[in-house]
């Protein structure tokens, strides 16, 4: 909303600097976004005053800074004010935006040569661009803002004063109003003005409308707009002749009804829209926009002036469904003041009569379905203190509230009962009054209380910190955490999940963001792709985030950990080899992580079903309890799709896989050193190493560790075989094993390798 400082001064005597006003307003809840000087509105046109006419046909003008001589054929008069464009053409009022008529800027005054345009009354103004929160429709007006300032600064506030002159003839003998839809339109009033002469409004009014961002149209329509900006109450003027009827009937629309509106668009109405009709034809969409068929034109002689109150719910719905937002719809949908109806009607009728030379018929038709009674709220001193945390004198609080237009009914220095005017329907409870007092008193007066109360701290913060512990660990292992957006297109996600299983957004901003990810794999691969494109091939990344799925009639969003690695296994440096990562690197990271968390019972299963985006021969199932994750190499097809420049290895683990972390209880550890025996053997490649290791561990309780520390295959080893070398650690609780004991167990291990796995053991078979 644009507020003119000059206009405010009609209602409140204030002479502070605009910046000061803006500060007061902002700090009391009416945010001033911009302060504009009126001079800038005329930037495109330079206003000049003719100083003298010279004999040779030239004209001496003053542009506010200096006198210039120009040659022109235009009939410029001495002492008058004209607007020129920067390139020297005279600008008319239409070009300046001050009128809908093309005519020279006309001010009925002869000025002293040298007068600055902005020194003229009404031209020099300051415009505050204010943001009004949706709960304060009363502030969508100059009196609303003036009232705020009055309460804030303790200055007297006066409503517009006028005396309406009426002719003898009564309105009710000539016109009637009937409300059928009392739900949508609980109150409807009108006045009848005859003998109007439509033309331009006075410059002062046009300037004010212009500064407020409304195009001046004519003296009748301008008045309705002017009163709306002044009082916050929208009005509408009908051409009585074009109305073609002696009555207004307000009813609810039926679906499919059509009306051509003042914006020259034809609207096809849904049902339930409040329609203003002449008893037969719709003439306006109530509270939203007038009909073209009954609008004011230059030929209008008689006016029916409407002032009504519409139900906010109905207006909001109509505005949304018809996709039309007007100054009127905005105010009615946020809630106008039903008791402003007759006053606004009188005010506009008075102004129209004044500006058009028309005569107002006696009386006002005012039909209402109910009385709109004020609310009563009691404000206790105690509540102010409890909510705001400050002590405040009740009389000070009272001054603020009375300044806002509340009426003190009764009360003491402990509590006061207020009557709340109907324009403040946002004030419903005591706490609403506390807020009014708090904001006008200034939140700056609230001193921060930094003492904490005695609530027992932190009952369940472990989940968060557990996740962060894993994140920290992976960061320490050289992985960067990423945060990706969960949206993607059908093409992004279709390689990972069937399209019918994807969670779909019904109103995406574009098809690229139409689905939610079914897995974190495409999200992290996009990051790899982005970095590969910039020649960063050595990427080690992870993310902990949600994926989204259907679950029956609901949705679910399990958390996953995704880890990915590409490029060199170790940093590019003289100290390391140049090997690229492979499946054992990513598997090693997963093993390391479980190890770090103290989870020992993880299984890795090679021959099992894996998602199709993993290369089957280079990926493995990770199983802990009933929960399964995967790690392995991303397929060529996916690599191409994501434009990956080097193979990417991924571990994809549902976060629940980390549940059931065993409780740690200290056990006395064995102080006697372990004894080591190595065994080296050739065995079929097809025999899984994990089977051999597990079997050996099962041979004796004295075998405490088995480490595979060498593996080779090649020329010296027969086709289809490989050589494994193991270090086996033997230990017995509380005593040292004798050589004989160890040898006898080790012998069993060798027998196991030979018989169960068909191994050829070095030193015996080889």
């Amino acid at each position: 909303m644009r507020i003119s400082y000059n206009w405010l001064k009609d209602f409140i005597q204030v002479d502070l600097k605009p910046e000061k006003i803006a500060d007061y307003l902002t700090m009391s809840g009416t945010e001033v976004e911009k302060i504009e000087r009126s001079s800038m509105f005329f930037a495109k046109g330079i206003a000049v005053i003719v100083v003298d006419k010279l004999d040779d046909g030239g004209v001496k003008i003053f542009d506010g800074k200096s006198e210039i001589i120009i040659n022109t054929d235009l009939p410029l008069e001495k002492g008058k004010l004209y607007a020129f464009s920067k390139d020297g053409f005279i600008m008319d009022e239409k070009e300046l935006g001050l009128s809908s008529f093309s005519r020279a800027l006309e001010i009925d005054k002869i000025f002293e040569p040298g007068t600055h345009l902005l020194a003229l009354p009404d031209f020099d103004d300051v415009i505050f661009e204010v943001e009004i929160t949706p709960n304060r429709p009363d502030c969508l007006s100059h009196i609303g803002i003036a009232r705020e300032l009055s309460a804030l600064l303790g200055l007297p506030f006066r409503k517009p004063e006028f005396e309406i002159e009426e002719v003898e003839e009564k309105i009710e003998d000539n016109f009637s109003v009937e409300i059928e839809d009392t739900d949508g339109c609980p109150r409807y009033a009108c006045r009848y003005i005859r003998g109007v002469k439509i033309g331009d409004s006075p410059l002062k009014m046009r300037l004010r409308l212009f500064f407020a961002g409304i195009r001046p149209i004519n003296n009748a329509v301008d008045v309705t707009n002017y009163v709306m900006l002044e009082l916050g109450h929208p009005l509408h003027a009908f051409d009585k002749y074009k109305l073609n009827s002696n009555k207004i009937v307000i009813r609810s629309s039926t679906a499919g009804e059509k009306i051509k509106a003042l914006d020259e668009k034809e609207y096809i109405l849904p049902d339930g829209v409040v329609l203003i009709t002449n008893g037969d034809m719709p003439v306006a969409i109530g509270g939203v926009i007038g009909g073209e068929n009954s609008g004011i034109s230059e030929r209008t002689r008689e006016i029916i002036l409407e002032s009504a109150y519409f139900n906010p719910r109905f207006i909001r719905r109509a505005s949304r469904k018809l996709q039309v937002v007007t100054g009127s719809s905005v105010r009615f949908e946020r809630g106008a003041d039903p008791n402003m109806v007759p006053f606004a009607c009188d005010r506009a009728a008075y102004l129209i009569a004044l500006l058009t030379g028309g005569q107002v018929l006696k009386g006002i038709i005012d039909v209402k379905a109910e009385e709109f009674k004020p609310r009563f709220i009691r404000l206790k001193k105690e509540t102010i203190q409890k909510v705001l945390g400050i002590k405040l004198d009740m009389e000070r609080a009272n001054r603020f509230l009375v300044g806002l237009g509340l009426v003190r009914k009764s009360g003491s220095n402990k509590a006061i009962l207020y009557e709340v005017p109907t324009f403040r329907h946002d004030l419903k409870d005591e706490v609403d009054l506390v807020e009014e007092v708090g904001r006008l008193n200034g939140y700056g007066r609230i001193r921060p209380n930094m003492r904490l109360s005695g609530l027992p701290p932190n009952r369940s913060t472990t989940d968060y910190f557990f996740k962060r512990k894993i994140a920290q660990h992976l960061a320490s292992m050289g992985f960067f955490e990423v945060v990706t957006n969960p949206f993607g297109s059908e093409t992004d996600f279709s390689p990972f999940e069937r399209v019918e299983n994807l969670v779909r957004i019904i109103n995406p901003i574009s098809l690229d963001f139409a689905f939610l990810r079914p897995t974190l794999v495409p999200s992290i691969l996009r990051v790899f792709s982005q970095n590969h494109r910039h020649k960063k091939l050595n990427c080690r990344l992870f993310e902990i985030a949600s994926v989204y799925r259907h679950r029956g009639l609901e949705y679910e969003e399990p958390h996953y950990l995704i880890i990915g690695s590409s490029g060199l296994r170790m940093p590019f440096s003289w100290g390391w080899g140049k090997a690229l990562v492979d499946i054992f690197d990513i598997k090693g990271v997963v093993e390391n992580l479980f190890n770090f968390l103290g989870i020992d019972e993880v299984e890795f299963i090679q021959n099992d079903v894996k998602p199709s985006y993993f290369v089957p021969d280079e990926s493995i199932v990770v199983k802990h309890g009933e929960t399964r994750g995967y790690c392995g190499k991303i397929t060529e097809e996916i690599m191409e799709r994501f434009e990956l420049k080097t193979p990417v290895y991924i571990a994809e683990l549902p976060f629940v896989i980390f549940r059931y972390i065993p409780k740690r209880i200290f056990k006395e550890f064995e102080r006697i050193p372990t004894s080591r025996r190595d065994v080296s053997f050739v065995v079929d490649k097809s025999t899984p190493a994990s089977n051999i290791l597990r079997a050996i561990k099962g041979v004796s309780e004295y075998i405490v560790d088995v480490v595979l520390f060498d593996l080779f295959e090649g020329k010296q080893i027969p086709q289809g075989k490989r050589n494994l070398t193991l270090a086996i650690e033997y230990q017995c609780p509380r005593r040292t094993l004798t050589d004989d004991e160890i040898n006898s167990i080790h012998q069993k291990v060798i027998e196991l390798l030979r018989t169960r796995f068909g191994a050829l053991v070095r030193g015996i078979d080889l």
């Binding site: 809840g29 909001r316 506390v434 701290p457 913060t461 955490e481 901003i509 970095n531 990427c539």
Partner: protein, 338 residues
């Protein structure tokens, strides 16, 4: 003779000081203490002196010899501790490992969580796919509030499901299952149907705070936010409330921190206001209490929110929100050690 002794002593000290290797020191040893060394030679000339001068000179020469030995041994000892083996070039770079790091969004969330858990807040969470009830209805958002518009909120196929537009629904989830007092913060991802530009992205992160107890006021809210601002930024930061409107709080405020870049004097970052807008807060609306079954007469509470990207952008001087979601390593690697 005495001046000669002094000269030798000075030369010797200088030579030892300048020696860089054990070999240098050996050369010095031979020069002064060898068979034909300068000090040795002096001892040989002792016999040529008058007998009464011999004891004095003898004593001085022996002292010098002693000192030379000590200096040489000491230097050799020092050289042993500083010189590396000639076989190893220790200036080669070390065998380092990959460097990783946390994402700046999570660095900020971790910091916020750390500060508030330190003040006794407990961490709560809720789903990103929410229902209209938790995201809007229970928070007292009118049925036709523009935030519910299909223009502003992402809706899913199943009726009434949406992507949460703020972390406030966690308030409702916690209060619906827990009797007061409650004191929580809830970090999480949120979604809004914004056109993507330098300051808007379709998803972003918030941290929500809520404290409900018998005796909670706006002054307490200002208190925790002040402590938070001081911990996060600096001890001099002040908190300012500006009145505002939110459907789920009453009174509602927007809170600002005094600008850390200019100490409130006014600069480009605070647009010369001296204040930086952070987010919204207020006292929990009575209707919200009724919706979760708390008695409004008995309980009072405050709630606040904050946008993590906005704070991260301020803290690290990041000017484009999209950088957070691109995850370029050249971006991520700048936040090591933060």
């Amino acid at each position: 003779m005495l001046s000669q002794l002094d000269r030798i002593e000075t030369e010797l000290e200088l030579a030892i000081q300048n020696a860089r290797t054990a070999d240098d020191v050996n050369v010095i040893r031979i020069k002064y203490l060898g068979k034909k060394g300068e000090i040795t030679k002096l001892l040989h000339t002792l016999g040529k002196l008058p007998p009464n001068e011999r004891p004095l000179y003898g004593k001085r020469i022996n002292e010098l010899k002693e000192k030379a030995n000590i200096l040489i041994e000491k230097k050799l000892g020092e050289l042993k501790t500083i010189s590396g083996s000639k076989e190893l070039d220790l200036t080669l770079p070390g065998r380092t490992h990959y460097i990783g790091g946390l994402h700046p969004i999570n660095i900020v969330i971790d910091r916020v969580v750390e500060i508030f858990t330190g003040m006794g807040f407990e961490i709560a969470s809720g789903p990103e796919i929410e229902t209209e009830y938790y995201n809007f209805d229970a928070l007292n958002t009118p049925e036709d509030h523009p935030a519910r518009d299909i223009q502003d909120t992402f809706y899913l196929e199943k009726s009434s499901y949406l992507l949460r537009t703020h972390t406030s629904p966690v308030q409702i989830r916690v209060m619906s299952t827990q009797r007061p007092p409650v004191r929580i913060i809830a970090p999480g991802k949120c979604f809004r149907r914004d056109a993507i530009d330098a300051t808007h992205f379709i998803c972003f992160h918030q941290v929500e705070g809520l404290y409900v107890d018998e005796d909670v006021s706006l002054a307490d809210l200002k208190g925790v936010l002040t402590v938070f601002a001081r911990e996060l930024l600096s001890i001099n930061v002040k908190v300012r409330f500006r009145p505002h409107f939110f459907p789920f709080t009453e009174p509602s405020v927007e809170y600002d921190f005094s600008c850390i870049f200019c100490n409130g004097r006014g600069c480009r970052i605070c647009k010369n206001t001296g204040w930086i807008e952070i987010s919204g807060a207020g006292m929990v609306q009575n209707d919200v209490f009724k919706n979760v079954g708390y008695e409004p007469e008995k309980w009072r509470g405050y709630a606040f929110g904050m946008g993590i990207e906005r704070i991260a952008m301020l803290l690290f001087g990041i000017d484009d929100i999209r950088l957070f979601y691109e995850n370029d390593l050249r971006f991520l690697s700048q936040f090591r050690g933060v």
